[in-house]
Amino acid sequence: MSTPGYPSVLSALIILSLSLGLLSIFVGPAGLTVAQVIAALSGTSGDGDPASIIIWQIRMPRMLMGALAGAALGLSGAVLQGYLRNPLAEPGIIGVTSGAALGGVVAIHTGLAATSLFALPLLGLLGSLITVLIILGLAGFRGSPLTLILAGVAVTSLASALISLVLSLSDNPFALTEIVFWMLGSLQDRSLEHVGLAAPPILAGLGLLLFTSRGLDALTLGEYGAQNLGIGLDRLRYLIVAGVALAVGSATAITGAIGFVGLVVPHLLRPLVAHRPGRLLGASLFGGAALVLAADIVVRLLQPEYDIKLGVLTALIGAPFFFYLVLKTRRELIS
């Protein structure tokens, strides 16, 4: 076949995300020179040197958090699309990120986040868990793409309304600005502490989701076909619910809701893996990381003149894809 082999696709994506990760270390409003960055990276500049602090304590955690969040969103998108056999399924569109953001908002504004470090990722996880369950309950397995999107719209609006409500009740002067953070997502000032909090649950979630590849492959034949191939659909469902909640929930509690990554990445990569849902997983994991890293690099190139939120960029890239996919699946949507 004319498509490249899976190992070369996967290694290309790994190299791409690693290079973008490295590049993002060189970019930032402080405008450090290449020489300064290299000196800081190689440890030849002093400990108290501003460049060294900027690289290791500000840009490095920001890069790591971006890569983790991107991987979580890309992989979750690929898994949800494979499971629901619907190219429009995406953590943002079906409301999982909004649920997670609501969890994050509640953690911070009830003061729980200040009491216990783990409250933030935990409530994000809980928020996404509840939304995933609502979505699967409402639109579930046999739902048409239309039901899924309607359910997603309802859940997203409800979660957004609750976010605004919590922020308004908190009577804090930053409420409006904070809503923007949660709705559009940002990697601004994410620290190594954040990475430490979010990385274990995100990695656990990614691990669970990678175990779904056989089941998703088998689902190409529909539910009965998959069951006949020895796939336990209940077990698959638990894996997906837990994996998406862990990965998207903990990432979103730290970065806010970054949209469309889970839609665009699997869509772009599907032809490269010959449309095989199982192989799409590894590819979307690295593809998601690469997309978020690239978007954050653009965000920082525009600073300080423009303060563009990460989610604005991903939406600018993602929304046209969404329109295109809606057009493509229109017949199915109407029926």
Binding site: M1, T220, G222, Q227, N228, L229, G230
Partner: protein
């Protein structure tokens, strides 16, 4: 080496139920499941494939209860061809047929030589060599149906459970499919196939289960079960049944109340 139904019953809502079904699928036989729409053919096949559970009675697969075997072992022993034949992603014909090897594969492991052999054999049997690397969406409906059968054949299961597999196939491919099932039976496997084409059932099946309204009304050799009277009673049709040198030939003439 049998697949048995012992006093199995099943009910779905208020309208539909199966009552006290018992039969046994022996090695070396191709059994035809016939009966009007809603008689319970698909439900029986789904229960045998382990997709739905009976509400009473037992299914016994090789002297074991399916619950004790686990889904993977069941998948190695029974290949099921659902009536709904949709491909949800546009993967290649070969990748699709390779799915039949999932019950044998280790997690994250690649295909082994055994797997490749089974896949190539299935491609050959279903006459798909020319299409093996094409995306399934490029294929005609009949070709897609053969891809499904090839997937089931690649599964290398003793018991093949097929729900109207000939629907949508041209006569030549219908015959080669039924011949393939007969071949499978001859080599020690068993096939249970639901059919609406009574002629096909009569010609290729060793035994017929005639179903009506959730019950097995008759069971036996085709010429014993598929009589004019039985077909009139169960289907409400007038049929010409004649014995030829090619076997039983059944032609439908009209509805029984036409006369």
């Amino acid at each position: 080496m049998t697949l048995e139904f012992n006093n199995v019953s099943f009910s779905y809502g208020a309208g539909f139920s199966l009552h006290d079904l018992s039969f046994c699928l022996q090695p070396g036989e191709c059994v035809g499941l016939i009966g009007p729409n809603g008689a319970g053919k698909s439900t029986i096949l789904k229960m045998l494939a382990g997709i739905i559970k009976p509400s009473g009675g037992d299914i016994v697969l090789d002297d074991m209860k399916p619950e004790d075997l686990g889904p993977r072992v069941i998948a190695q022993k029974t290949a099921y061809l659902p009536q709904q034949r949709r491909f949800h992603w546009d993967i290649s014909v070969r990748s699709l047929i390779e799915l039949g090897r999932l019950p044998y594969r280790r997690r994250f492991g690649g295909l082994l030589p055994d797997d490749h052999r089974a896949v190539e054999r299935a491609i050959e049997l279903m006459d798909l060599k020319a299409h093996a690397n094409r995306p399934v969406s490029n294929l005609s409906g009949g070709e897609q149906a053969r891809v499904h059968v090839a997937r089931a054949l690649a599964q290398d299961a003793k018991f093949i459970l097929a729900d109207e597999p000939t629907a949508g196939l041209d006569p030549a491919h219908q015959i080669s499919l039924m011949r393939c099932f007969a071949e499978h039976a001859k080599t020690g496997g068993s096939v249970l196939v639901s059919l609406h084409d009574l002629g096909m059932a009569a010609r290729w099946c060793d035994r017929i289960l005639l179903l009506d309204n959730g019950r097995i009304v008759m069971e036996g050799a085709p010429d014993m079960v598929m009589t004019r009277d039985n077909l009139a009673r169960v289907y409400g049709i007038r049929a010409h049944v004649s014995r030829t040198e090619d076997g039983l030939v059944i032609a439908t003439a009209g509805l029984s109340n036409d006369a």
